[in-house]
Amino acid sequence: MNQPQRFRWAEFTIEALIRVLGFSTIGFVLLIFLFLLREGLPTFFEVPLGNLFGTRWYPTFDLFGTLPLILGSALVTLTAIVIALPLGVATAVFVREVAPGWARELLKPMIEVLAGIPSVVLGFFGMTVIAPLVRQTLGAPTGLTAFTGALILAYMSLPTLISVAEDALDAVPKSYRDAGLAMGATQWQTIWRVVVPAARSGIVTAVMLGLGRAIGETMAVMMVTGNAARLPLTLDSLFRPVRTMTATIAAEMGEVAQGSVHYHALFAIGIILFLMTFLINLAAALTIFQKRRRGGLR
């Protein structure tokens, strides 16, 4: 009687502990979100929408146009993905399909180490090495451009992209490869026409996860993009300085008076950023869900 009783107590305690931890995680996320809303929502009453979604961000003159920042983030992030996607997929294909066993064992941990490099280090590297390179090759007045930021971001999203894409390739059944080879397709044709298309939804997920990580990145981007809040609408915008949402918040939060309109506006940017990341993650989750339902994982 005594023995089982004690056993059940342990069980109960552990269960309760796990439950508390689980719920408190959800609670913290909720609290952060509520805080974000409380600090940011007033903006939508204090600043006219025309101003808030205008084209000029000059808080000193009460101009809070977030459009240049949103587009700046979009420009840097999308360019980063355009660079990272082919590189990442090619690397994943190499690691999973082509590299001999020993090379794979060596490459995989190295790619994971890449993910662990602090972003400030990458930013420093970008400032001192990449930016001068960009300036020289482009003959531009400055190397701190949207393109430089995109390069660094691409580099940062590569580890996630590669490992998720590699898992997707790994999940493609051997029977598809056999079928391709048995048809007289070469190894390359089998990879590009059978294996990669079959892993497509997984690769899309990889891109979205990389994208989600890139759009929220702050430090490295702030260090290399030049931070000029101009509307990146002309063709050469990619090679001009640009300012992202994250960099704006990070740079200005320190010097703003708490409770001021400017302060609230920075939080409003945070809300917008949060919504964008949320939508991207949601899209990623939906593709995974769809893949499961279609039986793509068998």
């Binding site: 056999d178 080879l181 048995a182 007289g184 026409r193």
Partner: protein
């Protein structure tokens, strides 16, 4: 006339000898069935005929396989071309997760046939050849995985014949199918042998007796008996064969 001749073929997975001194003639435009208990080397032998065993590391082949008088293991053999000439249908239907059309068009596309001929014509002819055309012609864009298993297997046959092979290897093509689909595939094989040489591995004695012209009986990596199917099933010369086909062994 013999389309394929295996001559003292040995096959090793590492140190394990999975095939021992197999010699066999496979006649053109005939169906040759390979039977025998699980693990006796039927699939291994079949995969030697289109060199699919090359994809398994640590394996080794000795002996010769002649296809139209050419040794397919001779140095300098174009394996890709060999596999075009010798097609394969697998145990589990394995269409690509693409449309019906793209599945059949896969081979012609990678081999560049579509540059000389109309791709849609090739696809239609292949689907007709595999007795699937009437069921899918209204919706060639549907996902191949949405077909029934029997249809998927016929799609795999259509995919295989789209590159106009000379030989079709089938490894237990009906083991995942129900009896009706099975009979359909057997019927199809009888029609296909007019144009193709067929080798089929099967665990189903009745199936071997029903469709094949020749039967080879494998046992522990050896070819115990090879004969015209009628003879094999009416007057087997080996005791082992007799006990296997009557269900007393294996």
């Amino acid at each position: 006339m013999a389309k394929i001749i295996a001559e003292r073929l040995n096959f090793y997975y590492g140190d394990f000898r999975a095939l021992a001194d197999i010699s066999m003639h496979i006649e053109e435009y005939q169906i040759t069935a390979l039977i025998g208990p699980s693990g006796c080397g039927k699939s291994t032998f079949l995969r030697c005929l289109d060199r699919m065993n090359d994809t398994i590391p640590g394996t080794r082949v000795e002996g010769k396989v002649w296809l139209d008088g050419q040794d397919i293991y001779a140095p300098g053999t174009d394996v890709v071309d060999l596999r075009r000439r010798v097609g394969m249908v697998f145990q589990r239907p394995n269409p690509f997760p693409q449309t019906v059309f793209d599945n059949v068009a896969f081979g012609p596309r990678v081999l560049g046939l579509h540059k000389k001929e109309n791709l849609a014509d090739i696809v239609e002819a292949s689907l007709r050849g595999a007795a699937l055309w009437d069921e899918v012609k209204d919706n060639l864009k549907q996902d191949a995985l949405s077909l029934s298993l029997g249809q998927q297997q016929r799609l795999c046959i259509a995919r295989a014949i789209a590159v106009r092979p000379e030989v079709i290897l089938m490894d237990e093509p009906c083991s995942a199918l129900d009896p009706i689909d099975t009979l359909e595939i057997e019927e199809l094989m009888r029609r296909l042998k007019v144009d193709y040489t067929i080798v089929i591995v099967t665990h189903n004695m009745q199936q071997a007796a029903r469709v094949s012209d020749w039967t080879g009986f494998f046992w522990l990596g050896r070819l115990v008996e090879f004969a015209a199917t009628q003879d094999m099933f009416t007057k087997p010369t080996h005791e082992l064969t007799e006990s296997y086909i009557t269900g007393r062994a294996g």
